[in-house]
């Protein structure tokens, strides 16, 4: 199922809502903490939205293709920000080697060695974590920061 979702320029964004959370997922979700002991779990798991839905659609749905992310970045006037200039509220996107936006989150804390980010990990919950302290094997080795200039 999809909801009506548009950019500021009224371009439609393809999206998808899921609802199923299995017993396996419920049990497995508890073990994530062991791999990322410094990441703080913020919410329990939800299939309704993914990381991009969290970052760009207020947790209402899943956005799953690179093209949609590119459209949002362009239409909503996101501009890249250097690490030294990052502030809470900026967006971070993690890219694969090929440049696919595999993961995104919102910067919640700066001032330390690295920014802290709040992001949603697949169907697992939201986590507050250091920039690198997430499943980078899935999300990719590169990241860029963006700020909305609307």
């Amino acid at each position: 199922m999809a909801i009506r979702l548009e950019t500021s320029k009224r371009t439609g964004i393809t999206n998808h809502q899921d609802h199923e959370i299995s017993a396996f997922n419920l049990n497995w979700n508890k073990s994530i903490g062991r791999r990322h002991p410094n990441a703080r779990r913020r919410t329990s798991q939800s299939a309704l939205y993914n990381c991009h839905g969290f970052t760009f659609a207020s947790r209402r749905t899943r956005i799953e293709t690179s093209r949609e992310i590119q459209t949002i970045l362009a239409d909503d006037a996101y501009q890249e920000v250097l690490l030294a200039d990052v502030l809470p509220g900026d967006v971070v996107i993690y890219y694969s080697e090929r440049g696919d936006p595999n993961h995104s989150g919102i910067v919640v804390e700066t001032g330390g060695l690295v920014p802290w980010v709040c992001s949603k990990w697949g169907t697992a919950g939201e986590f507050v974590h250091a920039l690198q302290d997430c499943p980078r094997d899935l999300y990719g080795p590169m990241h860029r920061f963006y700020r909305c200039r609307l």
Binding site: F24, E64, D100, N102, K120, G122, D137
Partner: protein, 134 residues
């Protein structure tokens, strides 16, 4: 024969659960040891039969889903694959199929060599050609 142990199954399920997009799922699976092993050791027929069996299963758990995507990625990545695969049985199957098709690496290379040719005109014998003065 497809050989995956419990650790592999858990790892495939972890990938399926944490993936946010078809692209992240594909990239993680393509690099994972179980999928590399499937590509190296399994025939197209074995993978196809296993994919048919696991993708037809009802009430799939994350372990089943992770394994089904792993077999699909291995099957689509086989360099010697002949027949098309019904990737639409899995929700992100079509997107993964597109991604693999677009990023397919060539299996044959033909080097086109460029041989420059020059036409040399010889003056007719017995005639003297004197360059014109400018």
């Amino acid at each position: 024969m497809i050989r995956v142990d419990r650790y592999d199954l858990r790892e495939l399920a972890r990938i399926a659960l944490l993936a946010n997009t078809p692209y992240s799922l594909y990239h993680a699976l393509a690099k994972s040891p179980p999928v590399r092993r499937m590509i190296d050791t399994c025939s197209e027929r074995e993978l196809r039969e296993y994919y048919d069996m696991i993708s037809a299963r009802r009430g799939r758990s994350e372990v089943d889903v992770g394994l089904a995507y792993a077999v699909l990625v291995a099957l689509l990545s086989l360099p010697s694959r002949r027949d098309p695969v019904d990737s639409s049985r899995l929700r992100w199957g079509g997107a993964i199929d597109d991604l693999i098709t677009k990023s397919a690496t060539p299996t044959q290379r033909e080097v086109i060599t460029f041989r420059p040719t020059a036409e040399i005109r010889q003056p007719e014998p017995g005639r003297l050609i004197v360059p014109r003065a400018e």
